[in-house]
Symmetry: C2
Subunit: 394 residues, 2 copies
């Protein structure tokens, strides 16, 4: 992945307990327009607080990300640490400190090892290169088993434009108006307000529609930087055709990153989509999909896999959505399993089981109570998820 | 446990896939005043629907309970099955059918084996005996490893009165204004409206304050029957001293049943209480306690056990409660672990870990944002929970 105007590098700064790449730097050649969306968790990590403040100007030139430590629940010391580490980057790059955005992921509640990070900064700056994104994607991993990246290209007023990004996932994944960590870059020229609008809309349709465990992180951060290096005219109106084209490209890249995140969820054996249709309102559809997708009993049944659709009904029933249980239809992929609230028998369930085993299945619950729909992409709950999370800090 | 005026019996009717006691009958010698509270899940099992209807009269003489099949999501056939099986009891006892209350627990979405149950009824009636409650408690078990029962006695206007009950739990336990299955009996004389008032209040303080997995059942049912055999004057005013004494006894018995249910939760290694204090409102306190107690990451950390208090903060932060993260104090039992939002270090965490291992620990989160408090009794999330629920129907 190459995105004109951006370079990246990563290093092993000794932040992670068991070693490995844990510090990444992504730098724009010149100040880029920038936007971000963040966790709505009331407990916000220090880098989230600092990022939000610095993005008010709509410009950024560097992102400093570490894994192994979330710098969350660390009080004023945490804010000071985020300032000091980004200050080190600013010094080395000779840019204003408020052009450097911090992001962290890892264990909550432990002091950020400031010195390890500042010692790593000159090395990072020295190693910045256009093809450094792959390494950066590796450095932001925590329990992820694979780095996540995606890119696409499009034409804007005759200019070929690139849009790409990296992300990390694995656990504490239930984005609420933002996400985990995701960093998006384009060489198109886009004003900061348009950038923000596009990012928020695309995140709502992609990263905000996935869940691994229902737990919303303190560090959810998605950043979108535009270098303008492609030479295309600056997009300043979210309604213009170029903005729509860029929005589609952004949604495509974020959807692919979201897919990679769920596929690499902690302990995942089977991925699936919960699609609620025929709901009375969009809010009810969304709440029903999220409730079912986070039900431990639905998720353990999918680990079997066991087509225990009664658990889908039970979770739907406590979701707050209004519907008549005797009108609900459920299909696994193309296989009808429940019609008018009643099961269609073992043969149907056996076929549905094969559909789960064959690949990510879409489980559709039609409430037959209206026109609204919503989905949530999620995964099963396995013994491995428990094992990973019972000993995460050791 | 003996409760004058009531007899019970149980049998193996062949409803459970792998055999064992699965059908119980509890009978009052004469029609007893009766009250019930039920699941607020929109998907309600057939026995719940029929029970609610029959309790409108405030009288009952028998409870027919089966395990192995929830008779939920079974449409009109399910209601017919509940009617037919209770009709068989009514015939055998020569009482009106609407004096017989049905209850079911087990797999959702499979037809109730009506014939197996009706064939078992004459046998049950023949074996009714005053000390049959222990066997009945065994017959309503699903993934429970132990039967649950509790009783107490009190004096009402000079008369010794007994109050006791049985319950089942294990999974799909997150009562919402009702509970799992619980059956309470007393030989006091109580009007049906007072019975209902006492039951609802006591359930709110006990069974509604526990969670095993956050999934609310389609079959939650708590019934309370009073035979009046003790000879005490009939309680008709919830404000009178006798009613208060009975309320205290009922809360005591239900709290003990709730304790037994959480202790025998599916795969439980460590039980704990989440106590939220200093919240702005009672509703926020309750929501915060429930959110933390159902967080997969909190529950897997407790399985370790790992004093990963950052996950408590993260779950608190997404609960919707209003608070300042920098003012939160957290203690494990008597051990302070977080003060003013910041961790107190490894030594404190090591002590807190011992507190978890030593027995059910109370984890107190003081939000320092008001005066309200609420608790939720819960348990960890272990590999065994996943194993049990990935193959529940096989």
């Amino acid at each position: 992945m190459l995105i004109p105007g951006f370079r990246a590098a990563a290093t092993a700064a000794g932040i992670k307990k068991h070693g490995g790449l844990d510090l990444a730097l992504i730098v724009a050649d010149r100040p880029a327009t920038a936007a971000g969306v963040f966790t709505r968790n009331r407990v916000k990590a220090a880098p989230v607080l600092l990022c939000r403040r610095r993005l008010k100007h709509g410009l950024a030139q560097a992102i400093l990300v570490n894994s192994g430590n979330a710098n969350a629940c660390t009080g004023t010391a945490g804010l000071k640490a985020a300032r000091e580490t980004t200050q080190a980057v600013a010094r080395e790059l000779r840019v204003a400190p408020n052009l450097v955005l911090p992001a962290s992921t890892g264990v909550i509640g432990q002091p950020l090892p400031v010195e390890k990070i500042t010692l790593g900064v000159p090395l990072l700056v020295a190693h910045l290169r256009p093809d450094g994104f792959e390494e950066a994607a590796r450095a932001i991993m925590t329990t992820d088993t694979r780095p996540k990246s995606a890119h696409t290209s499009l034409k804007l007023a005759g200019h070929r434009v690139i849009l790409g990004g990296i992300a990390k996932g694995a656990g504490m994944i239930h984005p609420d108006m933002a996400t985990l960590l995701a960093f998006l870059f384009t060489d198109a020229a886009v004003s900061a307000p348009v950038l923000h609008r596009l990012l928020r809309q695309a995140v709502d349709q992609t990263l905000n529609c996935i869940s691994i465990d229902g737990d919303t992180s303190t560090n959810d951060t998605a950043l979108f930087l535009a270098s303008g290096r492609a030479g295309s005219p600056t997009l300043t109106d979210p309604g213009e055709p170029g903005a729509a084209a860029l929005a589609a490209a952004l949604t495509e890249v974020l959807a692919e990153l979201a897919r990679q995140i769920v596929a690499d969820g902690e302990g995942v054996r089977h991925r699936f989509r919960i699609l609620v249709t025929g709901a009375a309102t969009p809010a009810q559809a969304k709440r029903a999909a999220a409730t079912i997708a986070t039900s431990p009993l639905v998720k353990t049944a999918m680990a079997g896999p066991d087509v225990n659709w009664g658990r889908l009904m039970a979770a739907l029933g406590r979701s707050g959505a209004r519907f008549n249980p005797d009108r609900v239809d459920i299909t696994f992929g193309e296989i009808p399993v429940v019609r008018q609230g009643v099961g269609l028998g073992e043969k149907a369930e056996e076929k549905a089981r094969s559909a789960i085993l064959a690949g990510p299945v879409t489980i559709t619950l039609n409430l037959n109570a209206g026109e609204a729909r919503a989905h949530c992409d999620t995964c099963d709950l396995t013994e491995d998820y428990v094992r990973i999370n019972a000993s995460y800090r050791s």
